[in-house]
């Protein structure tokens, strides 16, 4: 059994019902939870592995959310910070669906615009919206392009873990 499979065994298979987000880019697990708006306040049981050894990625993060099945619409936005992530839907300890996150065309309300002159940073009733480019995202309002450090611009509340 490879390290990766061993970790999989330890960290993934012991969940009865819910979602396992695997192969998350190392160090991005808390951002994944932030984007998904999961902070444990609704009683979900959440387990997080950070910088776990991975055969494919070298190191990876892994997030288990018990009692909640995440939809593709909810998780595809993760492609911005964790393009290799795989989503495992678990029922009765079995993986009943497994897929990779897919690139979204638009990201709404997740990222803040780094341009201080952008109208989305004024006190206006407007949600941020970014078009997803091949190598970054672009604000649909001020048209600024963010190519690096996307996670730094996540504006949703951080989970209190």
């Amino acid at each position: 059994m490879s390290d990766d499979e061993h970790e999989h065994e330890l960290l993934v298979s012991k969940i009865e019902d819910g979602t396992v987000i695997d192969h998350v880019t190392g160090g991005q697990a808390l951002n994944v939870l932030a984007i998904l708006g999961i902070d444990g306040s609704r009683g979900e049981r959440v387990s997080v592995g950070i910088n776990v050894p991975s055969g494919r990625l070298g190191r990876k993060d892994i997030v288990k959310v018990e009692g909640r099945e995440l939809t593709p619409a909810e998780v595809d936005v993760l492609s911005l910070i964790a393009p290799n992530a795989t989503i495992n839907i678990i029922r009765g300890y079995d993986v009943i669906d497994k897929h990779r996150v897919e690139r979204t065309a638009v990201v709404a309300g997740i990222l803040s615009c780094p341009n201080p002159e952008c109208i989305t940073n004024a006190r206006e009733p407007v949600e941020t919206r970014f078009d997803v480019l091949d190598d970054g995202v672009r604000c649909v309002y001020c048209e600024s392009i963010i190519r690096e450090g996307l996670a730094e611009h996540i504006e949703v509340e951080r989970p209190s873990v």
Binding site: E117, I119, T120, E124, E143
Partner: protein, 300 residues
């Protein structure tokens, strides 16, 4: 025109642009004073930043079309000082007017405002973003003098913050033009405009010295370098002096090369250029009337 709002020049197709320019030519030829096609229509002018030419030419344009303008006036005399959002302001004003002209210091302000209203909204400048109606009058002026295809255009000055530059450069990608960008490194084209130019298949040709490219140009579009972009007066003076043009320098230009400027100018075009055949910047400003009339005529 299919468009309800005019937010960026990029959002206008070549056909849209030509429709506006053709209509502007008709209105100009028809003696614009006599055209009263939109009697009773009201245009709201919301300028959150100072403006002379844009505000007055929109005012004149709607009046020459037989309509009238209502003007928010200076920001310090309006509800903005009471903390009203732009979204609320435009939602109220759309009940008073048939179209809204908006200038605002924040980039993306016109795009956002357009999402809150059903009447046509025209972006008259959003910070360092875009100024598409200026671009239409620029293109109208260019078409008259040098045409819009098969020409070489130089754009010089503050390319980073200059919204007229951003709109013009993206609009010119719809025509067969070669664009040269002349600026200090610190005021070069921003990443988002470069992205649009590359997406449109244009090559960004950059120069630090106007001398390198002046003899090739059919048209030179000069913009003002603003003092506040520089940490100190001396650095500003050094840079501003380098990115100006005078009649002597123009001896190396093609005889038919035209000089344009969105105005106001400071020192970047020496008054010695005014009397040469190269200068078309005052006519360019006058063209704001037929072009804005045409735009309103097509949108109202």
């Amino acid at each position: 025109m299919r468009h309800e709002h005019v937010i960026t020049a990029k959002g206008l197709s070549r056909a849209d642009i030509e429709t506006v320019l053709d209509r502007a030519a008709e209105l100009e030829a028809a003696d614009s004073r006599a055209v009263e096609l939109h009697r009773g229509k009201i245009l709201a002018l919301l300028f959150f930043e100072p403006s002379t030419r844009t505000r007055l030419s929109f005012d004149a344009a709607i009046k020459r079309l037989g309509g009238d303008a209502i003007d928010m006036g200076a920001v310090d005399e309006s509800s903005v000082t009471k903390g009203e959002t732009l979204a609320d302001t435009v939602r109220v004003i759309e009940g008073y007017a048939d179209a809204i002209v908006l200038r605002h210091p924040s980039q993306g302000a016109a795009k956002m405002a357009s999402e809150f209203v059903d009447v046509p909204l025209l972006n008259a400048g959003d910070g360092a973003g875009h100024h598409p109606t200026q671009t239409l009058l620029d293109l109208y002026t260019m078409r008259k003098h040098v045409g819009l295809d098969g020409i070489s255009v130089g754009i010089m000055g503050d390319l980073k913050y200059g919204r007229t530059v951003h709109s013009l450069a993206t609009a010119l990608t719809k025509f067969d033009t070669v664009q040269h960008f002349i600026s200090p490194e610190s005021l070069a084209l921003p990443a988002n405009v470069r992205y649009d130019l590359h997406e449109a298949g244009s090559t960004v040709r950059e120069h630090r010295d106007i001398e390198d490219v002046l003899p090739e140009l059919d048209l030179l579009y000069v913009t003002r370098i603003q003092r506040e972009r520089f940490p100190d007066e001396r650095e500003y003076r050094d840079v501003a002096g380098e990115y100006g043009i005078d009649a002597a320098a123009l001896e190396r230009a093609k005889e038919h090369c035209k000089i344009m400027h969105p105005l106001p100018r400071v020192d970047e075009i020496d008054p010695s250029v005014d009397e040469t055949n190269h200068a078309v910047y005052f006519e360019q400003a006058h063209n704001g009337i037929p072009v804005r009339m045409a735009l309103l005529d097509l949108l109202l």
